[in-house]
Symmetry: C2
Subunit: 327 residues, 2 copies
């Protein structure tokens, strides 16, 4: 099988490729060929070098999607996007990359299948940003997508296209609505959501972290390991079970910031907790106050997608996957 990862240089892309390197049988079929694409050249884990090809390209540029799809990948992980803040700051770029790039990919598959039978599986990274407040206490699988950002709008439109192209028999698509990924590896960043990870990741290595919101803030989380699990499961599952509603809110953990901190104390001790410095930031508090806090992700759970049940698990996964198993 030929597997393609578009957006392979991003956090999810890199972790997905590492996972395929570590457990090559995990998709349930042999990977004969691996194509890794992104706007910057992605890296390849040593174990996969012999079967991999890397490409630096912009999916939204004329003719690029057709060139990618001419190699007829059997499974396509489409993770490429510009993030919410950038899509809001640059209207043209957001629509070009997040909407037109994705549509160009879908169209390239449609045109390729006209030449010779072609029906790839396509896994698309969507987001809970497709929802906009006000929300019910738990957002169910039939709650409407009324996004309040251009990023969320672009993701919601791509979801609609994915469902229609799938219904039309052009490809076998699944939209994966990711929770906020926590603990995000790497350095602290200025994304409004960064602190959810910072207040755990930094104290676990003895560094200070800033908490800009109240401990009573609730949000929706899954570990990077779960995120990769969603994509791997979606790539190998029996899609006949899904029906025409192809965009799925992934399971996650609804938790308070206070629960994050309590879990940190249990796993790493009060010394770690004392490294969290409270610096209330009304701007960040206001942005985060508009985000969804809880979902009833029933359909995805029934279809076999799983995530963590508490923050102790999320912290232990970070220690295993990022810190070599010890703190």
């Amino acid at each position: 099988m030929h597997v393609m990862v578009i957006g392979a240089a991003g956090m999810i892309g890199r972790k997905l490729v590492e996972k395929l390197a570590a457990e090559p049988d995990d998709l349930g079929y042999d990977i004969a060929k691996l194509t890794l694409a992104d706007v910057i050249e992605p890296s390849v884990p040593p174990g996969l070098a012999s079967i991999s090809k890397t490409l630096a390209l912009d999916l939204s540029s004329q003719g690029i999607a057709a060139r990618l799809i001419a190699s007829r990948p059997d499974v396509i992980f489409h993770l490429a996007a510009i993030v919410s803040g950038e899509a809001e700051a640059d209207f043209d770029k957001g629509y070009r990359v997040n909407l037109d790039g994705t549509r160009a990919l879908f169209e390239a598959i449609r045109h390729e299948s006209r030449n010779e039978a072609y029906f790839p599986r396509l896994l698309f990274a969507s987001s809970i940003a497709v929802f906009g407040q006000p929300f019910p206490e738990k957002i169910g699988d039939e709650f409407f997508t009324a996004p309040l950002t251009s990023y969320g709008t672009q993701k919601a439109i791509c979801e609609l296209l994915l469902a229609d192209y799938t219904r039309r028999g052009i490809f076998d698509g699944i939209g994966i609505r990711l929770p906020t990924i926590c603990i995000r590896p790497g350095k602290p960043n200025k994304a409004a959501s960064g602190f959810f990870s910072n207040i755990l990741r930094e104290p676990l290595v003895g560094q200070e972290a800033v908490l800009p919101v109240d401990e009573s803030v609730r949000h929706w989380f899954a570990s990077p390991r779960s995120a990769i699990g969603f994509f791997v499961h979606a790539a190998r599952m029996d899609t006949a079970k899904i029906g025409p509603r192809r965009n799925l809110t992934m399971p996650g953990l609804s938790a308070l910031v206070g629960e994050e901190i309590a879990a940190l104390g249990r796993v790493a001790g009060e010394k770690a907790v004392r490294l969290i410095r409270r610096e209330p930031d009304p701007v960040i508090s206001s942005i985060v106050g508009g985000w969804a806090t809880d979902f009833d992700a029933r359909r995805a759970r029934e279809l076999g997608f799983t995530a963590e049940n508490n923050f102790d698990e999320i912290i232990r996964i970070h220690i295993e996957d990022e810190l070599g198993g010890k703190i």
Copy 2:
């Protein structure tokens, strides 16, 4: 004020323009200029000839939307679309006209407003085809859009764009999700929904009509007069009351085919009812069986949109508006 109707040669477009001719103050402001556009040249009612300009054009052709918007209309009724059956039969044409044409219009407004302050009101004809079964008994205002046709997908995408462009302050948009219009004037056509109108319109003028489904079929209706009323109300209402959720399911009447027939009997007598010939058609029954039957259109009602309460009213409106008040 400069008012523009795109799709002015269609049924809703023609009736809207006739209404503006008959009651020019109805929008709450003077119409100084009226631009009527469609793929075929629209007709102009005599009373409006001196202020009207007609255009035959395809909104989805390169540069056309910009040319239209260069005249800076204050109010834009965007009714142009190809219908559901055609959008399903011709994938390219459906996406080009229904999605790309609308997006080109929205983009033209965005670019026009960069030159000089410009903030038109934009009323967009959407459809209950944005919903796909299975449905709850009544579809509420927060039910998700999971369309099962390319037409419904295109309308749902345009709704998302409309809300985002409005949120961004590019125009002041309202998406009007129309019920099935009944009694549609004109000749019987082969649309799967045609019989809902045929079984009333034809007997009212002494002609036979065919009923291809069971009398227990339920559907969601509004008269042409109500449809025009939705657009006129949307054009003059205080949009500050709407908030960011700019796409509204219009009110309508949920009724059985049997209720249509009973109302026909009350208004036009049993002789008219005997002109309905039952010819069960399993294909039409199956298509219609997938359509929504009832809505709780609470938000639109609270915002002042109104429709009929029973089929007697719908039939009387047809007699007044199409048959000169008598049968």
